[in-house]
């Protein structure tokens, strides 16, 4: 986001809408990830079993995207993955939600340790031109420089996708034989993922995109924007590795162009 902000702030006679913004797309196509719906269950086979060393495992589990790969879903496009965890943990996070008190409460917490499983959806927010950040006419940072103003709303596709997260998660747990304790259907609010992407997107057409495939500005050849701004879509994965891979490619290209004297 700061890249888009710097570009929008960098106005001159040559770049009246901000540097590298002849397309007018800087700040637009803001996208991120949508989360919220999740399922919690109890693997009854595991209740009361001896404690295992589940913290010795690396991380939780991940279910890769399965919607709109080979079959088209009737209600939304693109897709989501599930991120989950299960097993014994040092602190029984479910203890506070276990009802009651006394010996029975304590035994339930103890017996259920290692039997809990939960997972939540992590979905793609579609890039849309109208979702944008602009320079705020009133709010500034402590140096008096305009802050960003957000104009961003989830659309119908995100809402339909989240309904499916809850339905599919519940169906998977039922099929697996878990006792379902809760199905949460609510979406978290816009901005929750703190994965701000897409405000200087890449593309082949300089009229509809800001950067080329090397994250190099279409307008200004020695300007590279090496972060998540270039992403054309948020996809349904965490963006850090993609940002790193693209940075690598940009640097390779930058070095070779520099050596050729093109920059």
């Amino acid at each position: 986001l700061e890249s888009a902000r710097i570009m929008l702030l960098s106005k001159s006679s040559a770049h009246p809408n901000g540097i590298g913004n002849s397309s007018g797309h800087v700040g637009h196509n803001f996208c991120e990830h949508v989360m919220g719906p999740h399922v919690t269950g109890l693997a009854k086979d595991r209740v009361g079993k001896p404690k295992t060393i589940d913290d010795g495992r690396p991380g939780g589990f991940y279910l890769a995207r399965f919607r709109n790969l080979s079959e088209k879903h009737p209600r939304f496009i693109r897709g989501y993955g599930f991120e989950g965890s299960a097993g014994s943990t040092m602190f029984p996070g479910y203890a506070g939600d276990t009802p009651g008190f006394g010996v029975g409460f304590k035994k339930t917490v103890r017996d259920n340790a290692g039997a809990y499983i939960s997972m939540g959806g992590f979905g793609e927010v579609l890039p849309r031109y109208e979702n944008q950040v602009t320079l705020d006419p009133e709010v500034t940072d402590k140096w008096g420089i305009p802050a960003l103003r957000f104009d961003f709303r989830f659309g119908d596709n995100e809402k339909k996708m989240c309904e499916d997260m809850a339905d599919a998660g519940q169906e998977m747990f039922e099929e697996a034989g878990f006792e379902i304790l809760s199905v949460t259907r609510n979406m978290y609010t816009e901005g929750w993922s703190i994965h701000e992407l897409g405000t200087a997107r890449m593309g082949t057409d300089k009229k509809t995109s800001v950067l080329n495939q090397f994250q190099q500005s279409h307008d200004v050849k020695n300007l590279f924007v090496v972060d998540g701004s270039s992403h054309v879509s948020a996809s349904c994965q965490n963006p850090t590795w993609t940002i790193m891979a693209l940075a690598w490619r940009s640097c390779d290209y930058l070095v070779s162009e520099f050596q050729k004297g093109n920059l």
């Binding site: 693997a43 086979d45 595991r46 079993k49 404690k51 295992t52 060393i53 589940d54 913290d55 010795g56 495992r57 014994s88 040092m90 602190f91 029984p92 203890a95 506070g96 939600d97 009802p99 009651g100 008190f101 006394g102 010996v103 409460f105 304590k106 035994k107 917490v109 103890r110 340790a113 099929e175 697996a176 034989g177």
Partner: protein
Amino acid sequence: MDDFTRRDVIRLGTAATLSASLGGGEALAQAVAPPAPKFFTAEEFALVDELSELIVPTDDHSPGARAAKVADYIDARLAEAWDPAEKMAWRDGLKLVDRMAHERSGKTFMQSSGDDRIAVLTRMAEHEGKPQRPDERFFAELKERVVYAYYTSRIGIRQEMEYKGNGLLTEFEGFAVGGGDVRR
């Protein structure tokens, strides 16, 4: 002191009694006497200590909240809390517990019988998860703190939950997916 098990405490208690009769009890009694509460009054502290033990009692598996010094933990956290409303909620909540005990038995909570204490706590837990009344809201706060303090204590982690820490998992018993025989 944190490493004391319940057994140690009992043993020390016995030692203190024995040595008291031998005339050396005072020094030992001072050594095991808990420091004065930082936030609660002595009466409030005793009440929190009892409420915590009722929520997570000692059972045949492990010591409970009293042995884990849950009241000490809550006292310390409230002493350093920056929000006066948080402190006030506890003062008011504890007064309310005594008032409820009084309505029931004409006595304070600590003077009430074991059954009356359980009855008061049961009433406070009536709509757990969707607390409405002030006493129900206080129960939610009380239980959250007690649960956090207990299950992050040495007793809670090591004895009650038998936490083993990081280690090599040579075998995982797994879960029979869909009731079938797919065990991994």
